[in-house]
């Protein structure tokens, strides 16, 4: 196992609707927890990377402002963005900064305060995370883009609405027990019953996706502290090592997407690269966090990551194989669907979950058997960017 760069501290704010504070105060919540987790002070940190998607709050160039508030000046700091995958991209950047020998300890902080704008404004912002010249003029938004994948996939592979609901039911099982999640209500099949006015999750958003198939906007922050091998060993009793990093990109316009029945190409590309770097296969993964911004996205992720053959992702849900006690536990913290999806904080939150799982500190969400290798799959935009990061216990 390669031991070059480790995670020595993780933190996350609660993911909430309408955080009562500004972005610097929101960032502090995750930072404080990660620093206390690592047991270090700002003197031990020699650079910081801040990650979010622009145009939710009004702060331009947030890195300097947040670094000051967190006590991380005069160390170098800058901003990284890849929409929904911003903070896993930030971790890739932090890894590179350490691997290059430029820095020993790097703080990667993801944040998003989505509640500063309305839900309709948020849909417009997210739609403009795709092709503003040729697609946004039609009134595009994220649920509609993912629905294009869902429609073609369901038609070819026999995936049903009950299967999609199954993803949400699994998510809810863990959302209920995750104190940091925004959606903690139990979800039952009746919530998806067509034509029942009481069934809050059944209404169409972008058909075939319904309310219950979509993750919720949220405010939140996440923080990952990375260190080189020497510092990790001297500062941390429980380092979790980065074993593999893969990343990929794809054409933005739907007209340039090769095949809507095969899922997101970046998921396949990033996974192949991460497995190669780690020298492992999908069979070695004991616990995973995948980007379930929509239920269909989790099914497609199973296939991109090699957990299921193409078109067979539904079997994992039907067999409950991705529950905590199943053969391949996925999103047992509630995923984006239940935790909420504060864009820039999401990747760091997924990484935190895997780090806690590998340390055996995931509480009621802990996967049994002492998982030693975990994976994070974080997608930006409609498969515009994809990051897969593999972690191992020391």
């Amino acid at each position: 196992m390669k031991k070059d760069v480790a995670v020595i501290g993780v933190g996350q704010s609660s993911f909430v609707r309408g955080y009562e504070g500004s972005i610097r105060e929101l960032a502090f919540e995750a930072f404080r927890e990660a620093m206390q987790d690592a047991g270090i002070t700002q003197k031990d940190v020699d650079a910081s990377v801040f990650c979010s998607a622009p145009e939710y709050d009004k702060q331009r160039s947030p890195a300097g402002v947040l670094a000051e508030y967190l006590g991380l000046i005069p160390q170098p700091t800058f901003y990284v963005e890849s929409v929904c995958s911003s903070s896993s991209t930030g971790v890739k950047v932090g890894y590179s900064m350490i691997k290059s020998g430029l820095h020993d300890v790097v703080v990667v902080l993801g944040f998003q305060k989505m509640s500063e704008i309305t839900s309709a404004e948020s849909q417009e912002r997210m739609g403009r995370g795709a092709d503003i010249q040729w697609e946004a003029p039609f009134g595009t938004m994220m649920p509609a883009y993912y629905a294009l994948y869902a429609q073609a996939y369901m038609a070819k592979h026999g995936l049903t609405h009950d299967d999609l609901m199954g993803v949400r039911l699994k998510s809810s099982t863990y959302g209920v027990i995750n104190e940091r999640a925004v959606y903690r209500k139990a979800v039952k099949p009746g919530d998806f019953k067509q034509g029942d006015p009481e069934a809050k999750l059944a209404g169409p958003v972008a058909w075939p996706l319904r309310v219950g198939d979509c993750c919720a906007n949220a405010d939140g922050s996440s923080c990952i502290i990375l260190a080189d091998a020497k510092k990790a060993k001297s500062l941390s009793k429980k380092p979790v090592w980065i074993l593999g990093i893969g990343a990929a990109s794809e054409a933005v316009n739907m007209a340039a997407r090769p095949d809507f029945t095969k899922g997101l190409s970046v998921g396949y590309g990033a996974a192949a690269e991460a497995y190669r770097m780690a020298g492992i296969t999908s069979k070695d993964i004991k616990v995973a966090e995948v980007h379930d911004c929509f239920t269909i996205a989790e099914i497609m992720a199973y296939e991109g990551l090699g957990f299921a053959p193409a078109g067979e992702g539904k079997q994992l849900i039907r067999e409950k194989a991705t529950y905590k006690d199943g053969k391949m536990p996925v999103n047992v913290d509630g995923g984006l669907l239940s935790k909420g999806h504060p864009i820039g904080a999401t990747g760091g939150s997924q990484i935190r979950t895997i780090v806690l799982q590998l340390r055996g500190e995931a509480g009621p969400m802990q996967v049994p058997g002492g998982p030693d290798i975990g994976l994070v799959h974080n997608i930006g935009g409609v498969g515009l960017y994809g990051n897969v990061t593999i972690f191992g216990r020391g």
Binding site: W134, Q151, M254, R257
Partner: protein
């Protein structure tokens, strides 16, 4: 200028491919083709990333294709609130050419199927914004 006339609401005013809108006004949906290497593009591009040529010509898109996938939006982003429900889809013409657009309002939701024959045609909104749409083949 000129491209602000494209679509229900354009987010781009200036582009070297703004002539696309003039073609729509003439009743044509056009892509671009590289004069040097022959690569064809839709949506149109002003520059060829295959051979680095900036020399482009226009070509008329095929009219008939198959609907590869679609979705009906029941909510709309800011600025499009008057429109839902509306259906958007991807048309595959074969040979690597595809197109994303809304489907014509006249098509009933239960008539829309993956793989159905469709045509594309220019379309003008009530406020004279110019676009193109997918209709039954």
């Amino acid at each position: 200028m000129g491209f602000e006339k494209f679509g229900r609401k354009s987010f781009t005013a200036v582009t070297k491919t703004a002539k696309f809108v003039d073609f729509l006004a003439e009743g044509k949906v056009e892509g671009t083709v590289c004069k040097d290497c022959g690569a064809r593009f839709f949506p149109p591009r002003a520059d060829c990333a295959k051979c680095f040529s900036k020399s482009m010509d226009w070509f008329e898109m095929p009219k008939k294709g198959k609907l590869e996938t679609f979705t009906t939006a029941y909510y709309a982003p800011f600025g499009f609130e008057a429109d839902p429900p509306y259906t958007m889809g991807v048309v595959d013409f074969g040979g690597g050419l595809k197109l994303f657009a809304r489907l014509a309002k006249e098509i009933k939701p239960d008539e829309i199927k993956v793989g159905m024959d469709v045509i594309i045609r220019p379309f003008k909104y009530d406020d004279n914004q110019l676009s193109f749409e997918i209709a039954k083949g």
